[in-house]
Amino acid sequence: MHPETLIRIYANDDTEAGINTNLAFALGLITSALQTVFVMLSWILTTYLGRRTIYVWGSAFNTFLLIMLGVAATVPVQSEAAKTAASLAQASLGLIISVLFTLGPAPASWVIIGETSSIRLRPLTTGIGRGCYYIVNIPCIFLSSYMLNPEV
């Protein structure tokens, strides 16, 4: 977890929150704990399923859940009860997505990155790949600042 995430949570007050700070912090701790457990479960998973199966189906399922998260975040809400329901749906989907990411696509992607390149070219291939990661990362961070800050 990014340290800056925690700082932002402590700095935030409750007035504009979807769910309150204590619940958000508890969910954050639960997510980190579950991620640790699910990375360990992925070691067991790899003995039964191939990396391709894990990566393709894991990513497809996570994409589906991300779309559902998007729906929960954009559906128009009028009442306070519906607002709370929508934030809880987002929070639970966020938890499920981040945990499933550490069970399937995340470990599998590191395996693919480490094994695909030829041994002689491995440092170069990995370097270029990391470059690609940052190129896609820039618009993602830019967009996420709009997604995550109600003030922007």
């Binding site: 949570i9 998260l69 990155i113 291939t125 270029i128 790949g129």
Partner: protein, 113 residues
């Protein structure tokens, strides 16, 4: 805080079968493959090590690697796969996995008038 436990774990970690094969320690490499895989596939260990030896021999080339080679023949596919997988980490959960708490705290979207 992660580097310290990682450093300890890496120091205690068993050698990788690839490294052992490259150093010519084939028996130990077969043992390492056995530790990593399913126990019922134990007889396949020798075959895995033979496969590694073949790959290492095929790729044995002492000339300096150049960036241009990344975009030629089979290596182009390898580069494309690695780049695609790396870039896709951003798109299937990395952001939410890293910023989960802040995401939970986020205010829901309300229609603006």
């Amino acid at each position: 805080m992660f580097p310290t436990p990682l450093a300890i774990l890496i120091w205690m970690a068993p050698e990788s079968p690839w490294w052992l094969t490259r150093k010519g320690k084939f028996e130990e490499a077969a043992k390492a493959v056995g530790r990593l895989g399913n126990k019922t596939l134990i007889q396949a260990n020798q075959e895995s090590v033979a496969m590694m030896r073949r790959t290492i021999e095929l790729e044995k080339d002492t000339s300096d690697p150049s960036l241009l080679e990344l975009f030629k023949g089979v290596d182009l596919y390898r580069t494309a796969i690695v780049c695609g997988v790396y870039a896709a980490q951003n798109l299937t959960g990395n952001l939410i996995a890293n910023q989960a708490v802040y995401f939970f705290k986020r205010k829901p979207c309300t229609p603006r008038h």
